[in-house]
């Protein structure tokens, strides 16, 4: 790791935190890749519209476009929540290290160590998912011919217009 | 330095009394002389695995009996004169004899019979010794 800073105090004692960060990064990368499904559906929609101009084909609703695109992020989030729970459980595995952690003058120590990374990870997951969703929405609204959008979105577009 | 190496791990009576008796026995037998340094309370409690308060109690009693004196802070030294040795020898003998008397009396023996028994055994021991020397 090029990062010289020792982040181990934000993780359970003795945890190989590099691995956790790496796996979470991979999960987020894969989730982002998976979300490209929305992009594919966008392009399918646009292509259909182009191919049959006379038929006045409508663009599918945004919810349909999104579909399962963000499921990867839901999964990652669920995984991070499980990790948070596991962090607490692991304090009692192999030995009762929780006795020591609960005796520390620093009251928050054991909670910081259990929750810091899952919380940060969840924040990044939510931001990434929201960011991609917004990106797809922006593409949806700007790249689709106005008359092919369904009503609800039309209003939003005309406001932007 | 007075050596408590051979202090018996168990025995009769409270520990602190046993420690005092150990010192007395050493003085009586001559293995502990005058002006020998006593181990510090903390060291002795560590060597014997005994509470420092117990050691303190023992040392206090030893001081009261004039067997040790405290000098320069926490250090104690034995205070043994020929009179002390004689006194402790007599004491030890009296204690031994006392135990014997108690035991014989307890078994229902009369004084004359007891004296006779002791006399006989004494002579037997003398004869054995005499026999060995020849």
């Amino acid at each position: 790791m090029k990062v010289k800073k020792d982040l181990s105090r934000f993780f359970p004692v003795g945890e190989e935190w590099g691995k956790e960060v790496a796996w979470t990064a991979i999960a987020l990368a894969l989730s982002s890749l998976w979300s490209l499904g929305a992009l594919i559906r966008l392009q399918n929609g646009w292509r259909t519209i182009r191919m049959f101009p006379e038929n006045k084909v409508m663009m599918p609703g945004f919810q349909t476009i999104i579909g399962s695109a963000l499921y990867g992020f839901w999964l990652t989030a669920a995984g991070l929540i499980v990790l948070a729970v596991w962090n607490y459980i692991s304090q009692r595995r192999g030995s009762r290290a929780d006795y020591t952690l609960r005796r520390l003058p620093g009251r928050l120590e054991r909670h910081i160590r259990a929750l810091a990374f899952p919380a940060a990870g969840l924040a990044v997951t939510v931001l990434l998912a929201a960011g991609l969703r917004w990106l797809y929405f922006w593409l949806y609204v700007t790249k689709t011919p106005a008359d092919r959008l369904t009503d609800v979105v039309f209003i939003a577009v005309s406001r932007e217009g | 330095m007075v050596d408590f190496k051979d202090f018996p791990g168990d025995g009769e009576g409270p520990l602190y009394l046993r420690m005092v008796r150990f010192l007395r026995a050493g003085i009586a037998s001559g293995t502990i002389g005058d002006g020998e340094e006593m181990p510090s309370r903390r060291v002795l409690s560590a060597i014997l695995g005994v509470n420092p308060n117990t050691v303190q109690k023992a040392y206090r009693m030893m001081e009261e009996e004039g067997l040790i004196v405290s000098r320069s802070g926490a250090r104690s030294f034995t205070s043994v004169t020929p009179e002390t040795v004689e006194r402790e020898r007599s004491r030890l003998r009296a204690e031994e004899a006392g135990r014997l008397v108690l035991s014989l009396k307890g078994s229902g023996m009369e004084k004359e019979a007891a004296l006779e028994l002791i006399s006989r055994l004494w002579d037997e021991l003398e004869n054995e010794r005499g026999g060995e020397e020849q």
Binding site: S95, A97, Y99, L104 | P14, Y16, N51
Partner: protein
Amino acid sequence: MLEIKGLQKFYGFTKALKDVSFTVGPGEIVGLFGENGAGKTTLLKSILGLLVHGGEVTLDGERVTRKNIDRLSFATCEHSFFPSITVMAHRSFYMEHFPKWRDKRFWALMDFFKLKEYQIPGYLSTGQKNQLEVILALCQGADYILMDEPFSGNDLFNREDFYKVLMGILEPQETVILSTHLIEEVENFVSRAILLKKGAIVGDAAVSDLEDAGESLVDFVKRSYGYSPDRVRRVVEELAGDEEEGEK
């Protein structure tokens, strides 16, 4: 002064601790005795705040909170160290969180027990794990060191050596509360005995007083528990009687 006032603990409907009260002062070495299930572990964990309990625990008049909890340390047969980091890492962790860490004592005990700083507790033998657990509790810099059966798994020589070392290194104001069932072994070095039975105190005596009264610790314990030596004799006689009947 460590004051325990009216400690109560329920596990469901069972009362594990019944109005336990006593005071322990600096320098005392207290033997906490009782059969399995008497409540020794529950008592120690309650004092440390590891269990929710009724009643009050105060240190020099103040309730036990984060402000003074570093004055209490804990060694348990369940082991409270971190199984996957080195001994050295434990030292760093303790030094970071417990400013009164006793480093000189740490190295002396490490040397005495022949433990190495690069060792990982998870891979140590049970005896060595116990030793590390006890070292950490003794070096935290606490005034009151609570130990719950810290030697289960250590052989006799190990234990006796340890008692001796303990006597040598403890300072006059350090207090130990040691829960154990090895009464004869600790008889020589505890200064006080507190006896628990079914969650209540059935005996609390200074060893010095017992000595003056000519009673050994073991006898005191037996007396306090209402131990009846007749029990064994009666059962044996009964069985012997049955056997004779059977043979007839």
